[in-house]
Structure formats: structure tokens, C-alpha cells
């Protein structure tokens, strides 16, 4: 009888211990999730602050000052550019087709997606 009782008690104890272990593991997991979430929020916040700092230091004025500090701009010497470098010779920029023309009165070519209400 005592042996049976001992087995019951030990079994209950083992069950309890197992449940506690699972509970602890769950708590640990939730804690790590929470910590990860907080870390993520901190990282996002650092990102936001860095973006603001970068923006503040790369305003057109700041870039202009930095460019001036480098000295006058020089036109690259085409001869100094190796021909095998891809895109070394910039393709000529095609002049866009005029949206109208003073000479040809080419005005009635409709632009796409335009609904004219007179």
C-alpha cells in the first residue's frame, strides 16, 4: 500500500514538475519574445534618429558646402576615360518630343489619359 502511495505521490510530483517546467519554458519564450520586440522597437527608434541625423546633414545647403570645399568642378577629359569602361561615353540625351511647337502648331495631339471638359 505504501509503495502504491509513494508511486502516486511521485507520479503527481513528476506531473507537477513537468507542468512547471513547461510553464517556465513558456514564460521564458514569452519573455524572449517580449525582449525581442523591445529590441526591435529600439532598433526602429535608432533608425528613425539616424535618418533624421542623415537628413539634417545632407540638406542641399550642406551638400553644396561640401562640394565647394572640394574645389572647382572640372570637365572630365574624354581622352582619359578608358574606352572599354561600360557607359564611358554617355549616350546622347534625346531631346523629348515637344508637347507643342510654335512653328508647326502641333497642339492638338492629345496627351494620354486626359479628359477635357470645356
Amino acid at each position: 500500500m505504501f509503495a502504491k502511495l509513494a508511486i502516486v505521490i511521485v507520479s503527481v510530483g513528476l506531473c507537477g514538475a513537468t507542468l512547471l517546467a513547461y510553464r517556465q519554458a513558456r514564460i521564458q519564450t514569452v519573455h524572449e519574445l517580449t525582449a525581442a520586440r523591445l529590441d526591435s522597437e529600439d532598433a526602429q527608434e535608432r533608425g528613425r534618429r539616424l535618418a533624421i541625423q542623415i537628413a539634417a546633414r545632407t540638406t542641399p545647403d550642406a551638400v553644396s558646402r561640401a562640394a565647394e570645399a572640394l574645389g572647382p568642378m572640372r570637365t572630365p577629359d574624354p581622352a582619359a576615360i578608358p574606352s572599354e569602361v561600360p557607359n564611358a561615353q554617355s549616350p546622347a540625351i534625346d531631346k523629348p518630343a515637344p508637347r507643342d511647337s510654335l512653328d508647326q502648331l502641333d497642339l492638338l495631339v492629345p496627351l494620354p489619359d486626359v479628359e477635357v471638359v470645356r
Binding site: 500500500m1 519573455h31 540638406t59 515637344p98 497642339l107 496627351l111 486626359v114 479628359e115 471638359v117
Partner: protein
């Protein structure tokens, strides 16, 4: 009873006893979990704390994605007076040292802490005396504004009971310096209060969330309670139509032009005529000293003669309404491009000219008798031209800005017709661009529109417009294709494509082309002057435009004052000089509107105060630099300029 029977009884009793104890322990655990007592509940509650999750406000960016304003989280120090255990002087000294406060700031900190504690002592006493309306105890008193994270960490490290740090959204404006009035500002609750922040508030605003943490003995978050997380939702980002680089170009050239003219101020707007996007908008007050207030006369009209002496020797009067907030906080400045109206003068003539041309009354080559430059209308009103000729072609009437030619062309046309043209160009109605305080301008009512108005409006008087309205209206000449002659809807927000569903047609495309051709000749005169006077030449881009010079109205007299006798309703020898332009001529990409407010006496004496002398060069330079920045191929580039020598020479 045998020994084995006794053993069996003992074993049974022990088993029942242990079993009962196990049941009791299980029940107790269940009771503690489900219904803890008040004392335990209080202890558990201290380990649970709710934290607000701020919904981060969206970012404002310029059209190329440059950050204009953004929100980050700042930290503030607050005190819970009920939780403070250390003496007040210790708290003040330690917190003040951690925050590196001195002088008045230290005094303010001490005042806040002591006040909160004394208030609570009084409230506690009131409660003890059983006062029913005794206020609740203070559990939150802010000690600082937003502090940097280093100082916040120093305060945290003190581990003072009752002294806490809270995180709070802070709006920063890293790229908005040149466009402060456009970008605007948020209020203390992070709601848009001014400018684009206000106009797009509903999109930018985030939704706050909330989380309840279970914390350890040191207050560090252990985990989130079940169902205790309501996530915050960040607001959406908004891209404005403005381009910060174009804004810089506009501001630089406006400041240069205003300084060269010793002007009291200047205004500039750059617009994409196709999409209606406002690319840049700025206004400046000039650094002019010694401006005098206009000497209004008393009720009987008696007072000093305001114009005793020659220009330059007599006082120069203040013509711009003061804007005291401008120097304190740029975003609080009055946006004079949308709030302050002016008489457009001759910059209004292209609209009247195009309307008359469209009506068929005159063709470009028709000869108009301009009476040698001085003419009296049938109702005895004297009209003069700056360029005096016996006759001009209808095209020259616009090119040389002939008042007489335009008055003659409109005097027999119906008042309703001219007023309809003015209204259909958007004058007298707001652009509804979303900026606060926008003025609608002034256009006479149908009833009040008489023959004097008909004459005045022909050359841009007796009408008040904002620079923004002028930029919108002039876009009818800058739009091409099927949009030529139509009025855009202006917007401060970037538009992804040129999909427009509603276009208000004002002029026929053929009329637009004729007007543009004449206006190109006007702009060439500006370029000739710039080359002759400043040696500025070698432009890469063509432009067309129109200058205007108009007197500045005195405005309403203060209470108990009136206009001095013999003084018209305008400042004498003080003008608003303006130029509205677009370029390149064949494929206009931008419209630029410049107003130079009140060029200085030196310019007046030298007769170089006209729009073509003051605002014209600003528009010319802005068009050149802006189109270059946009990468538009130059339409005036000569062969041999490709190496950039012409550009470098400028």
C-alpha cells in the same frame, strides 16, 4: 490487532493525510491564481504596468524623397510625488545634477518638485478632514521637456523612487529649413497645426496603442500579459510636391534679387504647369532699415505732407504688413505667397490680350492707334503708356505693354465678358492648396464692375491677386498639347502621373501659341538688359514672360485717422514689381512667379524699379538653374557650348 493491521491503518491515515494536504495545496494555488487577497493583489499589480505605445506620425518628404519632417521618441522626466521616499532637497539636487541644470532651470526644477509635494500634502490633509470634494493626489508631474538620451540615462541611473522617465514622440524638421512655412508645424499633441503638417494631418497621424508588461522586481519587462497588447499604428508618409533643391535655388535667387534692389521683400513661386504641383514657394523680408510708418492725417485730413522732398530724401514708408513671428519661428511666418494680395499691373495684360485675341476682335498684326502714348477715354480718364508710339500692331501692344492699346480693345466689349474671363482664370477664388490663411483676392462684383473697372482691369489695376493665383493662371500659356490654354489645379502633394480628370479650358491652343510668341519677345528684352548691365548671357534655356509694375495701395486708415488731403490711395514712388515667366518656350516645364516688394529709392531714381529690371532677372536665373537641375536639354545651346564653357563663364 496484529502488527500488520496497525501498519495498514497508519499507512492509510498517512495516505489520506498526504492526499488531503495535496488537495489543500492545489486548492490554495488555484485560489491564489484566481482570486488572490487584497494584499497579494496589490503586490501583483505593482508587477504589472501599462505602457502607452505611441503611434508614430508619418514622415513628410519632398518630391524626391528627401526627409522634411519625421518623428522620433524623446525622453522626459516626471515625478510621482507619492512614490518619492528621499527628501525633496536630495531629489532636486540629484536630478538637477543628472540633467546638468543650472541657474533658472534648476530653480524651475525645484519649484516643480516642491509644488507637487506641497500640493499633495494639502490634498492629503483635506481628505483626512473628510472634505468630499478633495482632489485626487498628484501621481504625475512633468519635470522637464524632452532631454537627450544621455541625460535621461543619467536620471535613470539614480534609481530614485518616484522619479521616472517617459518616452514621447518628438517631431524633427531636418530638411525643412528653407521651406519652414510650407512644411509647417505640429502642436504639443503631435497634431498638425500649420502648413503641410496640417493639410495632411489625417494621413500623417498614427494611432496610439497600449501594452501591459509583467515586470520583475527591478521593474524590467518580463513579458506581455495575456491580451494586453494593442499595437500602435504608424501614420502614413506623404510626399510633397516641393523639391528642396529647387526651393534652395528659388530662395538664393530671391535673396540676391531683393538685395540688389534694396527691396522691402520678395516672393517667388515655381509651379509645374502640367501637373499643377508647386515645386518651390518662398517669401522673404528684406534687410531694410529706417522704414517709417505712413503719417495718416487726423479726422479733418490735417497732417504733415508725407511726400515733402525728393525720392531718397523723404521717408521711405513701410508697405509690408509686419510679421513679428517670422523671426521667432520661421514656420509661424505669414506665407505672403498665398496670404498677401497685390495689384498685378502689367503681368495681367497677357490674359486680357489673349481673351481679346480669342474673341476675334484683333489679330496679332492688326494696327492699333496708340495715340502717341497719351490718350483720354470717352469718359475723360487719362491713360498713358511707358513706351510712347503713334501706333502699334496688336502683338506690339502686349510686347510694349501698351495700356492704351488694351483699354481701346476692351472698352467696347461687355463688362460681363471681361469679368467672366478674369473669373475663369481663377482670380477671385482660392486655389485651395491646403495652406491656412489663403486669400481669395479681390475681383469686383458684377454689380460693381463699371466702365472705370473695365479700363483698370485691362492693365491689371483694380484687381488684387496672390502670387499663387498668378502662377496658376499663367500656366494656361505654359501648358502644351491638348492642355494648352487650360487651367491646372494646384497641389502641394506629389502627383504620380499627369492623369487629370477635369480641365478647365480658358483659351484656345492657337491663341496660347500666339501669346507665347509675343511673350518670348518680352523676355528677350529682359535678357538684353541683363547682358548690357551685368554681362549675364549665354543662357541655355529660352523663356517667355511678362513684367508688371504696380503702385502699392495705402490700405485702410487706422481708427480716427484718414488719408491726408491731396494724397491718392497709393504710396507714391513705391511699387510692387513682378515678373511671371515660363520656360523653355517650346516645351515649358516650369512657371516662375516673382514679386519684388517695394524696390529701394536708388532704383526709383534710376528708373530701374520696373518688373523687367527687378523681378525679371530673378525669374531668368531661377529658370536657368532649375531646368539645369532637372536635366532638361538646353534649347538655346550653341554648337561648341557642349563642353560647358558657356555655363562655366556664368
Amino acid at each position: 490487532m496484529t502488527q500488520s493491521d496497525r501498519a495498514a491503518i497508519v499507512a492509510r491515515i498517512t495516505a489520506w493525510g498526504l492526499g488531503a494536504m495535496l488537495v489543500i495545496v492545489v486548492l490554495r494555488v488555484g485560489q491564489l491564481q484566481l482570486s488572490p487577497g487584497a494584499r497579494l493583489d496589490a503586490m501583483v499589480s505593482e508587477r504589472m504596468s501599462a505602457t502607452p505605445l505611441p503611434g508614430i506620425r508619418g514622415e513628410l518628404r519632398d518630391r524626391r524623397g528627401r526627409l522634411l519632417s519625421a518623428t522620433s521618441l524623446g525622453e522626459r522626466v516626471f515625478i510621482d510625488p507619492e512614490a518619492v521616499t528621499a527628501p525633496a532637497d536630495v531629489v532636486i539636487a540629484q536630478v538637477g545634477e543628472a540633467l546638468a541644470l543650472e541657474g533658472d532651470e534648476m530653480d524651475m526644477l525645484a519649484l516643480r518638485i516642491v509644488d507637487a509635494m506641497e500640493d499633495n500634502a494639502e490634498r492629503r490633509a483635506a481628505r483626512a478632514q473628510g472634505e468630499a470634494d478633495a482632489p485626487d493626489l498628484i501621481r504625475y508631474r512633468l519635470l522637464t521637456g524632452v532631454v537627450d538620451s544621455q541625460r535621461a540615462q543619467a536620471v535613470k541611473a539614480l534609481r530614485l523612487a518616484g522619479v521616472h522617465i517617459e518616452r514621447r514622440p518628438v517631431r524633427s524638421y531636418p530638411g525643412a529649413g528653407l521651406a519652414a512655412a510650407l512644411v509647417g508645424k505640429v502642436d504639443a499633441e503631435q497634431a498638425g497645426a500649420l502648413g503641410a503638417e496640417r493639410a495632411h494631418d489625417s494621413e500623417l497621424r498614427g494611432t496610439d496603442g497600449r501594452v501591459r508588461f509583467v515586470r520583475d522586481a527591478r521593474g524590467r519587462p518580463l513579458w506581455v500579459g495575456d491580451g494586453a497588447l494593442r499595437p500602435a499604428e504608424a501614420g502614413g508618409d506623404v510626399r510633397l510636391s516641393i523639391d528642396i533643391e529647387m526651393q534652395r535655388i528659388a530662395v538664393e535667387e530671391l535673396e540676391r534679387g531683393s538685395a540688389e534692389c534694396d527691396a522691402a521683400g520678395g516672393r517667388i513661386i515655381v509651379v509645374d504647369p502640367y501637373t499643377g504641383e508647386v515645386l518651390a514657394m518662398a517669401d522673404r523680408f528684406g534687410d531694410v532699415s529706417g522704414l517709417a510708418e505712413f503719417p495718416w492725417a487726423d479726422k479733418d485730413g490735417n497732417g504733415p505732407n508725407p511726400y515733402d522732398g525728393r525720392v531718397g530724401e523723404r521717408p521711405r514708408y513701410r508697405t509690408l504688413k509686419p510679421d513679428p513671428w517670422r523671426d521667432i519661428e520661421p514656420s509661424l511666418a505669414r506665407n505672403r505667397c498665398v496670404e498677401d494680395v497685390y495689384e498685378p499691373g502689367s503681368t495681367f495684360k497677357p490674359f486680357v490680350w489673349a481673351a481679346v485675341t480669342q474673341s476675334g476682335r484683333h489679330a496679332v498684326d492688326d494696327i492699333i492707334d496708340t495715340e502717341g502714348g497719351v490718350w483720354t477715354t470717352p469718359y475723360r480718364r487719362r491713360v498713358e503708356d511707358v513706351t510712347r508710339r503713334d501706333e502699334m500692331t496688336w502683338g506690339e501692344v502686349l510686347r510694349f505693354s501698351s495700356n492704351i492699346g488694351l483699354v481701346k480693345a476692351t472698352q467696347d466689349l461687355s463688362h460681363e465678358w471681361l469679368r467672366d474671363v478674369v473669373v475663369s482664370l481663377g482670380f477671385g477664388s482660392r486655389t485651395n492648396i491646403g495652406l491656412g490663411g489663403e486669400a481669395a483676392g479681390l475681383v469686383r462684383s458684377e454689380k460693381g464692375w463699371d466702365k472705370y473697372t473695365q479700363t483698370s482691369v485691362s492693365f491689371g489695376h483694380e484687381i488684387a491677386v496672390t502670387p499663387l493665383q498668378m502662377a496658376r493662371a499663367f500656366s494656361v500659356f505654359a501648358r502644351g498639347g491638348d492642355l494648352a490654354g487650360s487651367l491646372p489645379t494646384l497641389t502641394l502633394r506629389q502627383i504620380g502621373d499627369v492623369r487629370l480628370s477635369l480641365v478647365q479650358r480658358v483659351f484656345d491652343p492657337a491663341v496660347v501659341v500666339q501669346a507665347r510668341r509675343v511673350l518670348r519677345q518680352v523676355a528677350e528684352r529682359v535678357e538684353e538688359k541683363m547682358e548690357r548691365r551685368e554681362g549675364e548671357a549665354g543662357w541655355r534655356y529660352s523663356m517667355f514672360g511678362k513684367s508688371g509694375t504696380a503702385e502699392i495701395p495705402l490700405g485702410a486708415a487706422p481708427d480716427d485717422k484718414r488719408k491726408p488731403r491731396g494724397i491718392r490711395g497709393y504710396f507714391e514712388d513705391q511699387y510692387n514689381s513682378s515678373f511671371v515667366a515660363a520656360g523653355p518656350v517650346e516645351v515649358p516645364q516650369i512657371v516662375v512667379m516673382v514679386v519684388i516688394d517695394d524696390p529701394g529709392p536708388g532704383r526709383i531714381r534710376a528708373k530701374r524699379h520696373y518688373g523687367s529690371d527687378t523681378a525679371g532677372p530673378v525669374a531668368r536665373r531661377v529658370i536657368e538653374r532649375t531646368l539645369g537641375y532637372l536635366g532638361v536639354p538646353g534649347d538655346l545651346e550653341r554648337a561648341g557650348d557642349d563642353d560647358g564653357e558657356a555655363v562655366a563663364a556664368r
